[in-house]
Symmetry: C6
Subunit: 83 residues, 6 copies
């Protein structure tokens, strides 16, 4: 079993929800979602096989986008919507 590297297991990389821009906030949302999956499934081969499967499955891609939308809602509120 090849394990996800340690930095991929950090739940909130950078240790803060505060980002300089919405773009960085959005990128953080994607990372939060991915690293949560790593916590549940730390085996790289299984992750890569799964990635190949849902990467071609529209419902899988939509479900992933939904998680990012939820994470982004939290990060955007944390940053006062970068007003």
């Amino acid at each position: 079993m090849t394990r996800v590297p340690d930095e991929g297991m950090i739940l909130v990389p950078g240790g803060t929800l505060i980002t300089a821009t919405p773009e960085e906030g959005r990128a953080l949302a994607i990372v939060l979602a991915r690293h949560t999956v790593h916590t549940v499934q730390p085996d790289l081969e299984t992750l890569q096989a799964g990635r190949a499967r849902y990467g071609g499955d529209p419902l899988g891609l939509i479900a992933a986008a939904q998680v990012v939308a939820l994470e982004f809602a939290t990060i955007a509120a944390a940053n006062g919507y970068w007003r």
Copy 2:
């Protein structure tokens, strides 16, 4: 593999959640959802094949509408609901 063009990979086009009108806010919500999918799946052929599949699948269309509803909730809050 034909990759999504660079502008399609920008997570928050325009770099802000603030829009002049609800209509623009809604359009931004759709773009945020689409560009997140591009980040997960940057291959154009795969995206277009998937688009054809879920475009005719009511549950796929409803799932996509759900993501837009979540993104719009964040953008509407960011804009003070354009009151």
Copy 3:
């Protein structure tokens, strides 16, 4: 291909989230969800065929109700819950 008429492609008909009553707010939530689907799938025949399918599928009806609930949450907040 028969395309959804132009007014069915407007993302936020009326250009505002503010409504006089909760009933109107709820109706707007349903329209926002429907017009988002039109943006993804503008072909009327495909929409009508899909409508017939999920109209008899309890999980499809529940999924549609979920999108309306999310849109209504945004519209209700925009209107101060019509207090």
Copy 4:
């Protein structure tokens, strides 16, 4: 086709989100979800057949409970959580 009676097509019965108690708020959340389904599918026989199907399907029951949870979140916020 036997159509849902008119009162079953009112989107927000009572025309307000404000209720005296959490119990009434919860009942309103269930009605909002049901009447939205009626708007999408007004045919009583189809609704009753669907009801029989998802009433015995745990995932259907959970999905219905999820819609009520979303509607209740909006109604609870509207009522200041009946503090």
Copy 5:
């Protein structure tokens, strides 16, 4: 048909969202979700058969956890997060 006992049909047992602790708030979230299911499906045998099915189905368990997360979000906000 053996019906769920009356106390299992009360939508908000205790008639309030306010609890002394997060633990009680979490327990209330689980009860709200369960009693909503009872409203949709009051037959005990059907519920117990469904419980056995989704109790061994990871996607069913995850879907149930999602409803509790939504209900808890409402209860936590009602209690000012027990700060």
Copy 6:
């Protein structure tokens, strides 16, 4: 039947939503989700079998990530987003 140990049945370990850092808040979100599943399904063998199944299923992993995102939204709000 081997039952989940008692500490795995505590709904909100530590009895508070307040954490020192976002990383701890994220870890709490994962625990809340897991312990809710334990409440629904306390049998360890069933849980472990289910874990093996959804650990290799991308849609299962995404659904789990979605629950964590919802729980984290509540915990982040409780902590004022650790600003």
